[in-house]
Subunit: 205 residues, 2 copies
DNA sequence: TGTACATCAGTGAACGCGCGTTCACTGATGTAC
DNA sequence: TGTACATCAGTGAACGCGCGTTCACTGATGTAC
């Protein structure tokens, strides 16, 4: 039993530690040194792999988008009906963000991440496109006249807003004595509303 | 022409300076001392009025919710049709957030604001209620069976998500060669989709 | 109207701290011959 | 199989910095008599 000098996969360990810190204290109270401390490693080590703070956070954001892509495509793959796919994707989005709050907090924070990073941009676009494709599929198969970009943006905005507001909404429920809604139910209802909206426009044929 | 020892309304000046800093550098790069510098005041002065950093940011968040409440109620007051009211409120929400990005960045950041602050809670609830009331009015007057809480939450989440994603969406438009959509148009389309969704459920009578 | 005094608002020096980054280093691993 | 050497991964000491907060202070304002 020896403590290896070489860690094995320090970059990953550092991302995990960073996610832990952020989940606990919020991204506003994040520090590189604490991350190193948690990973049980010298505070100079992160620099070797990520350059600087921004690099680490950017890497976390990329991981977030990749996980998001994986989650929503996996969720969609479980259904045949495109509308069901969309609902499943929405649920997956919010569920993932709840499970990995640190990533969700970082992914759109252009002030602390390098927004020019090509990997980040590619990962973001890939996730967006996956959603867009399903929306287009719905529109095509149901012969709707709704605009695919609009509906996609609406879905994405709603999911993201929901992620951000979820604690608040739960709190409101509690405040007013309503019994708390499960996240999945909330997402499902939202998506169904959006779908109804898209469907209620004129059909293309 | 003398520089007065007493400032007159330093708390407000500090909030303005803080909003400036955040708008320029993002809330991740905010510092109390820089705020004091911008306000042309000793760096110890803010402590007198706000206690500490958290106090100043909380005060900014309160101001944000109050401005939001004022903006959406004013927007709603210009219309008679409740559905038009809702659309106007959504537009006002996003417009305000664009005009005062610092406030928008701070309002839901529970990690850097005091979420227990009674003023903050009250201001937030007031704005939420204003939106809720209009939604309830639509449901009542159009005899819809949609749940008022759901629709309110959907609207709020969508608006908030839109505020957060707007730079990204604009960027995507540009990337794909679409001509950029004006914010107002985007909001309007979103709200109409939501309304269609709410309307397409069964009527209550 | 004048004076004494309390209160308020902002100063500026000082503190200690944790931070991000750098640097020469050392230990571990891989590779060429 | 062994040896020399290059490369890689992490160390730990050191740096300078800007930060938030505190404190005794001073200037300005308001109030009581």
């Amino acid at each position: 039993m020896h403590t290896p000098y070489h860690h094995g996969d320090l970059p990953n360990a550092l991302r995990c530690a960073a996610a832990e810190v952020i989940a606990e204290k919020g991204v506003g109270n994040f520090s590189l040194r604490e991350v190193a401390r948690r990973a049980g490693v010298s505070h100079a080590a992160p620099g070797h792999h990520f350059g600087d703070v921004r690099g680490l956070l950017t890497s976390l954001a990329i991981e977030g988008f990749e996980a998001l892509y994986a989650a929503i495509t996996a969720a969609a793959a479980k259904h045949n009906d495109p509308a069901e796919k969309l609902i499943a994707m929405g649920t997956a989005y919010v569920t993932l963000a709840t499970k990995r709050p640190a990533h969700a907090q970082v992914m759109f924070r252009l002030d602390i991440v390098d927004p020019e990073d090509p990997e980040l941009m590619a990962a973001g676009l890939r996730a967006y496109t996956a959603l867009h494709d399903v929306v287009a599929e719905i529109i095509r198969s149901e012969h709707l006249s709704a605009d695919a970009d609009d509906v996609t943006n609406l879905c994405w905005s709603t999911m993201q807003g929901l992620v951000e507001l979820q604690p608040k909404l739960d709190y409101l429920d509690e405040l007013q004595g309503r019994k708390p809604i499960k996240t999945n139910d909330r997402v499902r209802r939202f998506q169904q509303l959006i779908l109804s909206g898209a469907r209620s426009g004129a059909r293309t044929r």
